[in-house]
């Protein structure tokens, strides 16, 4: 059981403190806030993180109890159980080519890079595509098969929703979960090592 006292704090501080507690991997927590807005915000946040909640009112304070329900799909906020013992490497790919100069060579290198990532074994914990990188996760990507294989083997692949939307590719994505910056930043915090290409 984790206790969070967020009384006297204005939004978004109570949500951020709750998030920090969840990031430690707790299954039960108690959050105390002293205003309606913070109560609503913390309840919403716990809801999106798959927690069952109840509220007790004590004087002017709201006591929010949260219990991880386990019904909601696991999100990047949680520590992964499968590779918990090993070091966690997150690879963030912000381009569809490796390096600058010759584009054709850059694409070849990227294909090779994605294929060779296999050598990291179970240390490879998250693969995140942002900006031009999201083009590797769509239907005509040269590495679609490799990515699908990784995903089938249990690797979590996150694809930036804002970026897909920007390139009008939302409905052409073929692999990975559409994600947001909060998931990406949280994954960075949880990772032991972040490699950015």
């Amino acid at each position: 059981m984790k206790e969070v006292d967020a009384r006297g704090l204005a939004c978004p501080a109570p949500v951020l403190q709750t998030k920090a507690a969840i990031d430690e991997g707790v299954d039960f927590l108690n959050v105390v806030v002293d205003n309606e807005a913070s109560k609503e915000n913390v309840l919403r946040f716990l809801d999106t993180q798959g927690f069952d909640t109840s509220v007790d009112v004590e004087g002017g304070d709201f006591n929010i109890s949260g219990k991880r329900s386990g019904v909601v799909p696991r999100s990047a906020v949680e520590a992964p159980s499968a590779h918990a013992e090993e070091s966690k490497t997150m690879v963030m790919i912000a381009t569809d080519r490796v390096g600058y100069g010759d584009d054709e060579l850059g694409l070849k290198l990227m294909v090779n890079f994605i294929k060779t990532l296999e050598e990291m074994g179970s240390a490879l914990w998250r693969l995140v595509f942002v900006n031009n990188g999201v083009k590797l996760a769509i239907e005509d990507s040269a590495v679609l098969d490799e990515l699908k294989t990784y995903e089938a083997d249990g690797l979590r692949i996150l694809v930036c929703g804002t970026c897909l939307d920007h390139f009008n590719l939302l409905d052409r994505k073929q692999v990975g979960e559409t994600t947001n910056m909060l998931d990406i930043v949280t994954a960075m915090q949880l990772a032991d090592k972040v490699i950015t290409i």
Binding site: A10, C11, P12, A13, V15, L16, N35, E36, A37, S38, E40, N41, V42, L43, R44, F45, T48, T162, D165, H166, N180, M181, L182, V185
Partner: protein
């Protein structure tokens, strides 16, 4: 309190509006407004731009043209580098220049907390003043900027917003309502206000109260910053949004089918938000075309005024 008045006051405190209006001659009325606040973005230059755009907006919302302005500054001289103030003032001045407004003076005090804004004077023809009140049943409601800046700013405060969204929302808040006001001048607009701290429904409520009419908002037609709904679902909602909802709850009826995140956006306090324009149904499409021609891309018809005397806002 009793407020002195005279026959030349067109808009004063008896029915508060976006700005005060005083008739000088039969051709010219003076519009006066003042607005200042604490920083809402980290970059001082952009804060200056946003504060200036926000202060100028009240003149546009009255159907007027801003002409002169004065700086209002509160600055923690002992704790902060004076170069920061310089950048804020540069941002404000650039925005005034863009608006064709002349900076004619200002005043600064030492303050524990940084504050910046403008006192602005503008002109309008006395017969063309646009207040909040003159609604007609059947009128269409047009909104000129997307909603959600308060929620996005909360996400920024929490360090959870991406660089792209920070830049997008910064430019949105720094954008003048001038083009929207210019487009409006060519059409028979009935009423107008700008969306700021009370959120869309708070400001719409001010229009509806005392009109003997009601309003209907089509939630599916609202221009909304896409990430705002997502952040709202995560609880990144500013305290002001809850206060706005509480204050106006009794006159608002929201259909259950409206997504909870969108409901939050309806009450989200906006910084330098868009204009909310009320215009006859026959002229609404023409105004939308004019707005688009002026580059006001996000403008949309979001609802209408209905002849229901209860003075209620329905959101469907």
């Amino acid at each position: 309190m009793t407020f002195p008045t005279d026959e030349n006051v067109i808009v004063g405190l008896h029915r508060a509006d976006d700005a005060g209006v005083y008739k000088v001659t039969d051709e010219i009325a003076l519009i006066q407004t003042v607005d200042f606040f604490t920083p809402i973005v980290d970059d001082p230059y952009w804060f200056g731009q946003i504060a200036a755009a926000n202060a100028l907006s009240d003149i546009y919302a009255m159907g007027g043209v801003p002409k002169t302005a004065m700086n209002l500054v509160g600055f923690p001289l002992k704790r902060m580098d004076i170069g920061i103030l310089r950048k804020i003032l540069e941002g404000g001045l650039d925005k005034m220049t863009e608006a064709g407004v002349v900076l004619v003076g200002g005043h600064s005090v030492e303050d524990n907390e940084l504050k910046y804004g403008l006192s602005v004077t503008g002109f309008v023809h006395p017969d063309k003043v646009l207040t909040k009140g003159a609604l007609v049943a059947g009128d269409r409601l047009i909104l000129t900027k997307p909603l959600g800046t308060g929620i996005i700013n909360t996400a920024i405060k929490g360090g959870l917003a991406s660089a792209e969204i920070i830049e997008y929302v910064t430019r949105l808040m720094a954008g003048l309502n001038r083009e929207a006001a210019e487009a409006m001048a060519d059409h028979p607009v009935h009423a107008c206000t700008d969306i700021t701290g009370f959120g869309l429904l708070g400001h719409l409520a001010e229009m509806v109260v005392g009109s003997g009419l009601s309003a209907e908002i089509e939630s599916a037609d609202l221009p909304i910053i896409p990430q705002a709904v997502e952040y709202a679902a995560m609880g990144l909602i500013p305290g002001g949004a809850y206060k706005n909802r509480e204050f106006r709850e009794s006159m608002v009826a929201i259909a259950d089918s409206v997504d909870r995140g969108i409901q939050d956006v309806l009450f989200d306090p906006q910084t330098s938000g868009g204009l909310l324009i009320c215009i006859g149904a026959d002229s609404a499409d023409a105004l939308i075309s004019s707005l688009r021609e002026k580059g006001v891309e996000d403008a949309a018809i979001i609802g209408k005024i209905i002849s229901e005397p209860a003075e209620t806002i329905h959101v469907i």
